[in-house]
């Protein structure tokens, strides 16, 4: 069932538990769903020594799956991303619905060929003969002192590629509903989990549900300016909006959720009301989701704008290690508030 974009009910679970629950339910519902990746169980091959899953994934999103579904459907892989992600794409084009996990998006370089030249293009190149219901789960996000090769937020790269879809859930509710949608979708979807969201709890229905791919949602209504957030940045924008409300500025906050397709109409509609736009994006600024949204808004609703469409993003640098620099790198409430004030002419 497709449900509303806002959660109902009172049961609260963490973002990581929502992902785990979704995988469990989707694997129960469809025996063609398999999952593979590095360390998704952990301790592979040590069942004879009593090891079932050593960790259940580095962030415990896949814990318990191997006990329930067995090692035929829950496959720990060696460190061979090109082979296992390619195999998941091949399996998805021949009758399975494979989920593969790339531990961190920073590792995409070693397997990108399989995504851009096979997953994204097979259906098109084959003249529509094949469906590739493949999901790649991966992790994004800085703020943990993990430095430049474990912290990037490379979702815009995938938005750029025709044939791929992408989603960035922002809370437990959207994580469960969008992951279910990604797995059930007949196209390849990249599912981006922000590491800073795993421990955050929120209301999540127990029964399986799907949220629509390609739809944004408004998480705070306002009249003065539109803030578009992506993934965890939705909540940074939300916090800035709460601060600004104290000063009498009423921000509308949109949670983008889907990075391909992008819900331009939802954003345009908001900007037509508020006449101002800031995109808050943890990714770097050049050729980014933020620049894409600003350019579309400038083209499509130019006449409604009272100020230039603007961005609050990471700088055009890799992610630094030291907190002293990483704190400066991350978009934050202060920068958002300053940018809002500038656009409001205050």
């Amino acid at each position: 069932m497709t449900t509303t974009m806002q959660p109902t009910g009172t049961r609260e679970i963490q973002f990581r538990e929502a992902i785990n629950e979704c995988l469990r339910q989707e694997m129960e519902l469809d025996e063609n769903v398999i999952i593979m990746g590095e360390e998704i169980a952990g301790g592979a091959g040590r069942q004879d020594q009593g090891v079932e899953d050593a960790w259940g994934g580095p962030f415990r999103t896949t814990v318990g799956l191997i006990q329930q579904f067995g090692k035929e459907r829950v496959l720990d892989t060696p460190l061979s991303e090109a082979a296992f992600i390619g195999a998941a794409i091949g399996a998805s084009s021949t009758g399975l619905r494979a989920v593969a996990e790339l531990m961190f998006i920073d590792f995409i370089g070693v397997c990108m060929d399989q995504l851009i030249n096979n997953a994204a293009k097979m259906r098109y190149m084959f003249g529509g003969q094949v469906k590739v219901p493949f999901t790649m789960m991966t992790r994004i996000g800085a703020g943990f002192g993990a430095a430049a090769q474990h912290s990037e937020s490379y979702y815009s790269i995938f938005s750029h590629i025709p044939g791929l879809k992408g989603v960035c859930p922002s809370d437990a509710y959207t994580a469960k509903g969008l992951l279910a949608a990604s797995i059930r979708d007949d196209d390849p979807v990249v599912f981006f989990e922000h590491k800073g969201l795993y421990g955050i709890s929120g209301p999540v229905p127990e029964e399986p549900y799907v949220l629509p791919l390609g739809k944004a949602r408004t998480v705070r209504e306002g009249t003065d300016i539109t803030l578009v957030g992506i993934s965890k940045m939705t909540w940074t924008a939300f916090a800035a909006a709460e601060e600004l409300a104290k000063e009498g500025i009423n921000c509308e906050v949109i949670d983008l959720l889907s990075v391909s397709p992008i819900d331009y109409d939802h954003i345009n509609e908001s900007v037509q009301k508020t006449h101002r736009l800031i995109v808050v994006d943890e990714d770097t600024p050049v050729c980014s989701m933020a620049s894409e949204i600003c350019s579309r808004v400038a083209e499509e609703v130019f006449d409604y704008l009272d100020a230039p469409p603007s961005r609050v993003t990471a700088p055009h640098t890799p992610v630094p290690y030291s907190r002293a620099m990483e704190n400066e790198y991350m978009p934050n409430e202060t920068r958002i508030i300053a940018t809002v004030n500038k656009l409001m002419g205050r």
Binding site: E72, G86, A87, G90, N117, D187, P261, E300
Partner: protein, 335 residues
């Protein structure tokens, strides 16, 4: 080898159809201004034919940029293939793929592939599907000597070995990666030696001898079907022409070398083995050659008379489901 008369005739027929397709189809494609990315497999016919004679439509193959022979051997319709090369709507890919992406899922043909080594994990995935669903299918990953140095092959061989997947790594060593000789680019004496690193059998085969290829593939397929895991088979073969139609191979190899390999032509070799056995006559094989020539005439006519794709089909089949206007929103297309 347990081939009856009918099976033998089929082997020869498929080889001569491939040869005629390459000899006729490629220049015809060039004459229509669409020759940029077409690679001839003439000279290599024994390999796909010997391998695919062991497979059914349920089994899968992944192929390469030099893949016309794989397609024909796996049963893809030759007239449709010609139409695809000519960019017609009646091609199996509706004109969206061309020579380097010909596919036919109904025949277990997972596509020729323009990126060297890229199709190998797709075959691995097809083998995984078979294993998970208990389908007893096998998958063959065709690749060349150039791809034998791609990391994805080595990752795939390791993964197939630890998971005991029903897959055959089938290397067509035609001696050259573009113009780079395999003895320069490959660290081991034989590519088949690399199997040792992945705890699987490595078999070296005369790729100009369709019977040798058939036998080696039969063993590898039997091993895969019985759940024992993958095999690496290296077939030593030769491409008669350049990498594409644009290079002159005599800038990197000798006429003597070419003559040596042409003297071992796979179709002639078949004749020298089979005709003396007395069951099949030279005249029968001549007739198959003539039939193949006629088939190409028919294929060229079919392709020429086929409609071109409509320009607006440009937007079709990017996704199963996606907002259609997104393909062209804001980019000022004319249609």
């Amino acid at each position: 080898m347990d081939l009856d008369r009918e099976a033998l005739l089929k082997l020869y027929n498929t080889m001569t159809v491939i040869r005629h397709f390459e000899e006729r189809g490629i220049p015809e494609t060039g004459q229509r201004g669409m020759s940029a990315s077409v690679h001839s497999s003439a000279g290599q016919e024994a390999v796909p034919v010997g391998v695919c004679a062991n497979l059914s439509d349920e089994d899968y193959i992944g192929s390469t940029h030099r893949g016309h022979g794989h397609c024909i051997a796996k049963g893809v319709d030759v007239k449709q293939m010609m139409a695809e090369l000519f960019g017609r709507a009646t091609g199996p890919n509706k004109g969206k793929g061309g020579s380097m992406h010909i596919s036919d899922m109904s025949k277990g043909m997972l596509g020729t592939n323009g990126v060297v080594g890229a199709s190998i994990p797709l075959a691995l995935g097809a083998a995984l599907t078979s294993k998970v669903k208990g389908l007893n299918r096998v998958a063959v990953a065709f690749f060349g000597d150039g791809a034998s140095s791609q990391g994805v092959l080595h990752e795939s061989m390791n993964l197939a070995s630890i998971w005991k997947l029903p897959v055959i790594f089938l290397c067509e060593n035609n001696g050259y990666a573009m113009s780079t000789p395999s003895e320069y680019g490959v660290s081991t004496t034989h590519i088949s030696d690399r199997a040792q690193g992945y705890d699987m059998p490595g078999v070296l085969v005369d790729g100009m001898d369709v019977f040798a290829v058939y036998d080696a593939a039969a063993q590898a397929v039997a091993r895969a079907r019985s759940g024992e895991g993958p095999t690496l088979v290296e077939c030593q073969t030769y491409r008669y022409y350049g990498h594409t139609v644009f290079d002159n191979p005599l800038t990197y190899r000798s006429k003597e070398e070419e003559d040596h390999w042409r003297a071992r032509d796979p179709l002639n070799h078949f004749r020298t083995v089979v005709i003396p056995q007395g069951e099949i006559t030279a005249a029968e094989l001549d007739q198959l050659d003539a039939d193949a020539e006629a088939l190409m005439e028919e294929a060229v006519k079919f392709a020429d008379e086929s409609p071109l794709p409509k320009p607006e089909e440009l937007y079709d089949d990017v996704y199963v489901d996606y907002p259609k206007d997104m393909m062209k929103r804001g980019v000022n297309m004319s249609i």
